[in-house]
Amino acid sequence: MWWKILSVVLVLYALSIGLLIPLKPGVVRVSPETATTGQALTLQVFGYNSYFSKSEPGQIRVWLEYDSSRATAAQTIKVLNDTTLEASFQLPPYLPKGEKSTLLTAIVDHPTDGVSLLPNALKLIQDTAFLKSGASVSSMVSDSAWTLQPIDNLHVIKDFSFPYRNVIYESIRNTYYHVPMWFVLMFLFIASVWYSIRYLGKPDPDFDRKAAGYAETGLLFGFLGLFTGMVWANYAWGKPWSNDIKQLMTAVALLIYLAYFILRRSFDEPEKGARLAAVYNIFAFASLIPLLYIVPRMFASLHPGATGNPAFGSEDLDNTMRAVFYPSILGWTLLGFWIASLRIRYQRLHDRSHGLD
């Protein structure tokens, strides 16, 4: 009983906290997106969840970063509103290593929101007019223009908020609902296989009911995971189905279990159907391992942590997200087992009333 209450509490916690906590401030985009060296640039910076006007104008600092030791800082900054500011730069005449063009990272820092950055914000092109007047680029490159204004004294704000990520923005919250579905699916399928193995050892109809009930609930969570993933993909990748290798393999995994249910029902004697279904369930589960853990490593994927990692790396979660993510997994798992136990009890009563038990 206690675990049923716990599952409800945890799922409600994941739903409410996961949806209510705000995102950290971030930089959505800058305008213009290209510039040439030596230019006097007025850069508009668009923030997300930011409060530019809460800080003194002198406290806001903006940089365009080349690498960890080279950057150029804005000379004057004008705050237009909470989410827009204008930063004026005098760009150095040459790029640090004499390239034709490079991508710079925009960094905004002020006491209210802390530091936020946008990678590859601005494309800086070497102005060829400077090159014609002199000798080769490398001799004229001077590092001092890029190292005079170092990035330092950044403000780090510690509060309970989710990380800001470009491209996915608010949909980062789907981590608490999409990813746990796969954990629950795996746990339920393991339970299903466990009871199939037990059924082969001792043909008790109760083991068969349990194997089928866990597989059915696992399938339900598989579809939920697929749909939450498609909603997310529609937002982050532009379309709900992009034939990503993990989408394909998941669809195939669900087909395997649908075939399992067809097999169960295609025998006249229930005992024979149960035994062969148990055999197929074990076989299918074993072929699920290469589908979900070996094949996706062989192909490029749009999912995070695509190369060599079946899910995502530890760097994709921060501590605030962990505080919601792990309870969410536990809550949904308990809920999944609850649903499965109801399904099994229903089936047991159904079988008894039909004299099949």
Binding site: I197, R198, L200, G201, K202, P203, V252, A253, L255, I256, L258, A259, I262, L263, S266, F267, D268, K272, R275, L276, A278, V279, Y280, I282, F283, A284, A286, S287, I289, P290, L291, I294, V295, M298
Partner: protein, 258 residues
């Protein structure tokens, strides 16, 4: 020597067998090896029986060969006789092999009547029976896929650059298809709608093997970037085959006893 499952499953004798998975599953492989060592004559006889049966029912194998030929021509003509690029060649070739294999293997359990299966059940170890069928089907599929390759090359051209690797892929493919399809056909043969069941049960299971095979044959066709290596694919394929073959030997006795 008794297979432990034979007692565990029989209802009428009602011998209580306590089920201890931890003691049961690891014992399987040594059991298999011992079984193979002691009963290799059974295996030879059963394999001979498969060949004899095929020879007596020559129309069946001729039918499959004709199926392969027709399918290759249909595939070629349906692609509007266009110049088939190596990429498309690869896909179409493996589709032909896949469908030919599934049709060749599906009969391995269906063709023999229930009475005759009862006769085998009394004489032979189930594991030996399955092993003989898998070995026989591997050879059959190897012949069929070589035949498809030769015919397909005549019709649609032969873009294979690394012949050795391609033949290795064919061999590994026949082995993988044979293991998975033989096992699934033993399940499907028990049901009434065995042809449909055979397809829906085996296609999802065969997919990891098929993906690895097409990947490997892309190497043989020179479609991969020059620095990519195929050792990983071969290891993956052998690993999948290993998982499947172990499972089929563990699970087959449960299907077989009826």
């Amino acid at each position: 020597m008794a297979w432990p499952a034979n007692q565990a499953g029989s209802k009428d004798k009602a011998i209580p067998v306590k089920f201890i998975p931890s003691a049961y599953l690891p014992a399987t492989l040594p059991y298999l090896c011992r079984n193979l060592f002691m009963n290799w004559r059974h295996f030879i006889i059963l394999l001979q029986k498969e060949f004899l049966l095929e020879f007596r029912q020559r129309y069946a194998i001729s039918g499959i060969v004709l199926y392969v030929f027709s399918m290759i021509f249909v595939v070629y003509i349906a692609s509007a006789k266009a110049d088939i690029s190596p990429k498309i060649w690869n896909v179409l070739f493996w589709l032909v092999v896949l469908f030919a294999s599934i049709n060749a293997v599906v009969k391995s359990f269906v063709q023999e009547s229930g009475a005759r299966q009862l006769y085998y059940y009394q004489l032979a170890e189930p594991v030996m029976l399955l092993l003989s069928k898998i070995v026989y089907n591997t050879l059959l599929l190897l012949v069929l896929s070589s035949l498809s390759f030769v015919t397909y090359s005549v019709v649609a051209g032969n873009p294979v650059k690394d012949a050795g690797l391609f033949w290795l892929t064919l061999l590994l493919g026949s082995l993988g298809f044979s293991i998975a399809f033989t096992f699934i056909s033993s399940i499907a043969a028990k049901a009434n709608n065995s042809a449909t069941l055979m397809a829906i049960l085996s296609f999802p299971v065969i997919l990891p093997i098929l993906l690895t095979l097409t990947n490997l044959s892309k190497f043989a066709l020179g479609l991969m970037p020059p620095l990519a290596t195929y050792d990983r694919d071969i290891i993956n394929l052998l690993a999948i085959d290993g998982i499947l073959v172990t499972l089929t030997f563990v699970l087959f006795p449960f299907i077989w006893k009826d």
